[in-house]
Amino acid sequence: MLQQFLDSLIADGTLGGMPRDVAYLIGMLGAGALVVFGFVLNISGVTTFVERRVWARIQSRIGPNRVGPQGILQWLADGIKLLMKEEAIPFAADSALFKLAPFVVTVGFITAFVAVPFSSALVIADLNLGILYITSMTSLVVVGIMIAGWASNNKWSLIGGIRAAAQIVSYEIPAALSIFTVILITGTLSMQGIIQQQGWGPWDWFIFHSPFTFVGFFITFVSLLAEGNRTPFDLPEAESELVAGFVTEYSGARYLFFFLVEWGNLYVISAILVTLFLGGWQVPMIPGLAESPFWLNLTQAVTFIVKSYAGVITMMWIRATLPRVRVDQLMSTCWKYLLPIAFVNFMGTALWVLIWPEGFRFAELALTLLGFSMVVYFFYRVVFHLRRSGAELTFSPLS
């Protein structure tokens, strides 16, 4: 699309005698900037706002509600405030690397966005290595974190960086193994290809494809939580132990970058999960929808974003509820439990695909039923607890 547009510009001479490749380069950079500033950063920002409001409700507070209607612009205000702030670089820090670290982190995060699909057409680049590309690019984030931890010349930051490295390197293995179970089924690494092989109904999603993918979904979820440094695995920045871990010495815009990545990563994690296991942007084919590409893509994008944000909110909920694990518990969870289970899953899925290459309808329906009854039971328990305690859900200080 972009290429055609640029070609047409060159053809009618608007760009003068600019060489074709240079025009492409400028066009790509422009489009990239548009995507980054118009979309990626906004997703991070909005996610911070959503998190604060969701937390506030969970903790019977109100949350930010002053900037814009219902405080919806709070994230912009925060961002502008942080950009305006003076940046303090510690005298003893290694200033070159200290300045470099946030950008390494941000590059790792933004380049991962390239392969995240939003609808059948809305994807920056449908790489045929999609999922592998995303996992490899997010691994740049940890390098940035380690640089930040070391360059701050602060022992708390250093410990934070070391913890981040140990944690992410360990959890990458079960995460990758569980992702590969899905790839065994699809036979493609492309994000769009994976989604296309699922259907709109839950029984066509890969989470309910076989018992192994059902377990694999939870392993992926836990491992990606750990890779994204989210509670209960937020050890690298554990504010009650390590002050703020690797971001202790950062301030102003560089601090902002770290947190953009942190919250943006929430979305990337959800998007990966939704793509792999939860049917991606698949929508039911209502007659007439397929004829209009605009409406089709819109419904698909809305479906995808709603599903992803359901994941994001689940992660916020977890963060608001659970305490943090200790380092030894973190490692034993990964190596003693997740990794062996992930291996069994991998082998099991391989066998399953060998026996039923087209999927086994009965198992899919039964697992769907199981999944739904789990959700229903969960909500039943929540309501039961609320009834029993007669909890006051809101706190009115004036009463």
Partner: protein, 384 residues
């Protein structure tokens, strides 16, 4: 060296020399509960020891007592332990009354107990809430503080202050209970009872919370006695000792309550989880005490006639109060003048703080905050 319950032999023969890292934790650290400082000698994530460095909040309260007179010292006692100021009030009141042979009217004693037990609940809520926060869960902290706010409202109605109450006087309390106070407190208690159960479900049965606390810094009863660990920390080690029951003062002999002790339900007896659980159980006992107080409280004056210029006869006395942080020991010397000759308060946190260096050996770095929080250390109480 021991890691997570396993004895680990580190092979040092093949040149795997490790170096101790010295970490400076505090004075401004998010989880040191006030201005505390630890010098942590760590081997990676494992602590060799954590050396406490206190004194950042030393306000010479004992020296001040020698200058301001018996009545005048009462507001200063609030600052000894601002989380549970009622007990410091009560301690100073009791030690002076013992020095000067003052009898507190019955209603005054009941008012004291009501205020003190309300304060104990709020202090335990703060302790438990911050402990959970330090371990990493955020929401239970807000829930605990929401209930604490309600107690603060009640205490504000009682004495006009939310933190430094200055409610008690030598010979009784400053004001009688305001009208309708009983209904308000009982309404709060019946609501709080149910909420407490809810928080209990949320935290006590939380697997991650248990895993973080079980077996961390378990203390034996003998060690607890040698280090003079007091209050909930002592009871968590399995020693059934409560000053309110065993060295009764005020109207506690007329009240019925249990003394909960740690049972090692999550691992070892006397570990961090037991210390947490004992506090939760004590909140329930305090609720019981409060309900009984409102049934038994007699009419009458709330404060005895005490001369404005109090000159107790020369002599020295010691009294002990079961504060929220345990046996608070007040020692006062009078020389017959209107100023105390010497006053000394030995607080619960002081004793607990002295033990941390010993407890910290071989723990993980993350466990240090668990230990500080579970021992319920309030920095100003250490330094006074």
């Amino acid at each position: 060296m021991s890691i997570a319950g396993f004895e680990v032999e580190v092979d040092r023969g093949r040149g795997l020399e490790t170096e101790e890292m010295t970490l400076n934790m505090g004075p401004q650290h998010p989880s040191t509960h006030g201005v505390l400082r630890f010098v942590v000698k760590a081997d990676g994530e494992i602590m060799r020891r954590a050396i406490p460095d206190v004194g950042y909040l030393h306000r010479s309260i004992e020296k001040i007592s020698e200058k301001v007179g018996y009545h005048g010292f009462m507001p200063y006692t609030d600052r000894v332990d601002y989380v549970a100021a009622m007990f410091c009030n009560q301690g100073w009141g009791m030690v002076t009354e013992k020095l000067a042979d003052i009898e507190v009217p019955k209603r005054g004693e009941y008012c004291r107990v009501i205020a003190a037990e309300l304060n104990r609940i709020s202090s335990h809520l703060l302790s438990v809430g911050t402990m959970i926060l330090d371990i990493g869960a955020i929401t239970p902290f807000f829930h605990a503080f929401r209930e604490r706010e309600k107690i603060n409202d009640l205490l504000e109605e009682l004495c006009g202050a939310r933190l430094t109450y200055n409610y008690m006087r030598i010979g009784g309390v400053a004001w009688d209970l305001p009208p309708g106070y009983e209904e308000k407190v009982l309404a709060f208690l019946s609501q709080f009872d149910r909420m407490l159960e809810e928080y209990d479900d949320l935290v006590t049965s939380n697997k991650l919370f248990r895993a973080r606390c079980s077996g961390v810094a378990a203390i034996s009863p003998a060690d607890a006695a040698a280090y003079n660990l007091v209050g909930p920390n002592l009871r968590a080690c399995g020693v059934r000792y409560d000053v309110r029951r065993d060295e009764p003062y005020s109207v506690y002999p007329e009240l019925e309550f249990d003394v909960p002790v740690g049972t090692g339900s999550a691992g070892a007896v006397g570990d961090s989880f037991d210390r947490y659980l004992v506090r939760i159980l004590e909140i329930k006992e305090s609720i019981k005490i409060l309900r009984q107080c409102f049934q038994q409280i007699p009419d009458g004056p709330v404060v005895a006639k005490v001369p404005r210029k109090l000159k107790p006869p020369a002599g020295d006395v010691q009294i002990r109060v079961e504060s929220a942080r345990g046996d608070m020991s007040w020692y006062a010397v009078s020389d017959g003048s209107e100023f105390p000759y010497r006053c000394k308060v030995r607080t619960g946190s002081f004793a607990a703080m002295g033990m941390i260096e010993e407890l910290s050996k071989g723990l993980m770095l993350a466990d240090l905050v668990t230990v500080i929080a579970s021992l319920d250390i309030v920095a100003p109480e250490v330094d006074r």
